[in-house]
């Protein structure tokens, strides 16, 4: 606002110089990859290396599932060349809004991916015989607990135990509904295609969540907010992502991520190509680039989550690997409940439940 005239002039000169350069650069065929992804999935050094090796300029937009879908829906699948939605949120969305195009697996270097994960993702993103996702990063949500309450909180529903009243936090979103349903001995995934049954499960979960409300300090809405709550000790137990738990564990060994008794909820984030992607070539280049074991390990180190890249574990930070092994023994891994694709319309039902819980006193 209060810029002196000379500095304004300097800025003008700089600006015109920058404009001239950018015009020049675009004349020299500056290729661009517009990537919409999660925090930590495109670390700066990885982006820099990719830009250096390919000459393609990468524009990263950080986002989450819902925001990604909303943005692509608003433009009919334009504005980005590559997106990273979770695998369970592709088919339903694709049927309703048609915002992606099928993956051409001949252009994906599948040799460097874990075959089981490729198969799982293909199955859950299949629509009319075509696949819409390549597996990228996977992780789980479960419980982050402080040692002082570790005896009490071993499953999602234990968050409602009077012993931890006022020291608990979870999100008011669909993973919470699903987690609670499992912990209450029901199987929401099996009821996905049976609306009435799903509704009856939701009704029970709703009742539980309303009862549990007094126990909750606040419903967390962002990862940073949750980490702050746990770091300061204001919250002793929370339902959250494994990566956040390991991050906190590195700072304070008293805080750990545990897989709940009823099973951690597993998700796989994918690569999906928006329907009006302008640089598909670059998108495939990026996929093949970041899934190389050594690069994928850098993504794991940055985001805290493991990838679908074969052999990447070798390059991962030992501390992270140890934390992962401590949270997941063989049984816990086999007990992971992987999210199946969400059928259209289910989110509306869940939305009503979440709103009712929010408004309940």
């Amino acid at each position: 606002m209060a810029r002196s005239p000379s500095s304004t002039r300097k800025h003008a000169v700089l600006l015109s110089a920058a404009l001239a350069t950018s015009v020049f650069a675009s004349a020299a065929a500056a290729e661009e990859l517009r990537l919409i992804t999660w925090g930590g999935y495109a670390p700066d050094d990885v982006v820099a290396q990719f830009e250096k090796e390919t000459g393609i300029d990468v524009q990263v937009t950080l986002s989450n599932n819902e925001d990604m879908i909303s943005k692509l829906r608003a433009t009919g699948g334009a504005g980005f060349d590559l997106a990273q939605p979770s695998q369970d949120r592709i088919v339903g969305v694709q049927r309703q809004f048609n915002i992606y195009k099928p993956i051409d697996f001949s252009r994906v270097n599948t040799d460097q991916l874990q075959p089981a994960m490729v198969k799982a993702t293909q199955e859950s993103t299949e629509l009319d015989g075509q696949y819409y996702g390549v597996p990228s990063v996977w992780g789980t949500s479960g419980l982050i607990v402080h040692n002082s309450v570790a005896d009490v909180v071993q499953d999602y529903t234990d968050l409602c135990d009077p012993a931890v009243a006022g020291e608990v936090s979870y999100r008011l979103k669909r993973p919470t509904l699903i987690g609670f349903a499992f912990a209450m001995g029901m199987d929401p995934f099996a009821a996905y295609d049976d609306r009435d049954k799903y509704q009856s499960i939701l009704a029970k979960v709703q009742e539980k969540l309303i009862d549990c409300k007094d126990n909750v300090k606040t419903y967390w809405t962002g990862g940073d907010q949750l980490l702050a709550l746990l770091r300061t000790g204001e919250v002793k137990a929370a339902m959250a992502w494994d990566a956040g738990g390991w991050k906190l564990n590195a700072e304070n060994p008293e805080i750990r991520f545990v897989a709940p008794e009823s099973g951690a909820l597993g998700w796989i984030d994918t690569f999906a190509i928006p329907r009006r992607s302008e640089n598909e070539e670059a998108a495939y280049k990026w996929i093949n680039f970041v899934m190389q074991p050594e690069i994928a390990a850098r993504i794991t180190n940055e985001s805290g989550n493991f990838t679908a890249s074969k052999g990447a574990d070798e390059y991962v930070k030992p501390a992270l690997r140890d934390a992962y092994r401590e949270s997941f023994d063989e049984a816990a891994i086999n007990n992971i409940k992987w999210y199946p694709p969400v059928p259209p319309g289910l989110e509306t039902l869940e939305g009503q439940v979440l709103d009712t819980v929010q408004a309940a006193n």
């Binding site: 819902e66 606040t218 300061t232 204001e234 939305g351």
Partner: protein, 286 residues
């Protein structure tokens, strides 16, 4: 010749404004109105209807949040007025020269930071491990940490803080123009403080009060960050519900209907406020 030239320049000047209003205000609102009357039959077919508006009235959490947001916004506006009036009075009537400018700056400076930063500032003060809580403990007034965040009081504090500047500025402007003799005459004729305030100062400042209240009310009603970040688990705000419908539920139809209702609510409230205080929009907005 001359008049047609000036008419042309008038139109040229108006064009950006008209484009702005039509493209960024009018059209999106009409679009939203249209979407709000669409009903999703199944996942890929749409029809027309009032379903979304029906939902609003049948699902109690929609209209309860709506009423709550309205009432809390009114209360916030009132509180802001009560707090801002003495400040504005001091700046406009009592402070002289340099201190006047300094005080005005002091009100303005917090607004150089974004709403997010201001809200986080309040969160640092109010949270359980925050400044106020540790001061209280250091003073020995409380035994353990006190949680002051995540409740309605915290939300109102944040909202009042956000609205303060927009109340102070119009008040200072109107109070500045008031003739000192009027106040003196009031006292001379035997009026006490209360009478002078009621009969002279408030009527004089009314345009400022009303315009300040309108702006603060609209800002509060439409605020999103403060209630979301500082509010507790029961304190849903209506904008939050609209956001949720659009972004997390992909239910644009319901979101649009709620948006239209919010627009109607704020318009009706402003109209009522003007009627009750006997002001007209033209007078208030100068």
């Amino acid at each position: 010749m001359r008049s047609s030239a000036s008419r042309l320049s008038l139109w040229l000047l108006l064009t950006p404004f008209v484009l702005w209003i039509v493209l960024l205000v009018l059209l999106p609102h009409l679009q939203m109105l249209r979407v709000s009357f669409q009903v999703r039959e199944s996942w890929d077919t749409l029809t027309w209807g009032l379903q979304q508006y029906q939902n609003f009235f049948t699902e109690s959490y929609y209209w309860r949040t709506f009423v709550r947001t309205g009432v809390m916004s009114l209360f916030t506006t009132f509180l802001t007025l009560i707090i801002a009036f003495p400040i504005a009075w001091y700046i406009a009537r009592l402070a002289r020269g340099r201190s006047k400018g300094l005080l005005f700056m002091a009100c303005l400076i917090p607004f150089w930071a974004s709403e997010l930063v201001r809200t986080y500032g309040w969160m640092i003060l109010l949270r359980e491990s925050g400044l106020f809580s540790s001061w209280l403990q250091a003073l020995g007034w409380v035994d353990g940490p006190v949680e002051m965040l995540y409740n309605d009081v915290a939300v109102i504090i944040g909202l009042v803080y956000n609205g303060l500047l927009f109340m102070v500025v119009p008040l200072v402007t109107t109070l500045d123009g008031m003739d000192e003799n009027l106040v003196e005459a009031g006292y001379d004729l035997g009026g006490g403080h209360g009478t002078v305030l009621r009969e002279i100062v408030v009527p004089w400042a009314m345009p400022g009060i009303v315009s300040g209240c309108i702006v603060v009310f609209m800002l509060t009603l439409g605020s999103y960050l403060t209630p979301v970040l500082m509010g507790g688990k029961d304190s849903a705000w209506f904008t939050q519900q609209i956001f949720t419908q659009f972004i997390t539920r992909f239910n644009w139809e319901q979101g649009a209907a709620l948006g239209v209702l919010l627009l109607v609510l704020s318009s009706v409230m402003v109209w009522l406020g003007l009627k009750v205080t006997g002001q007209s929009l033209r007078k208030v907005m100068g």
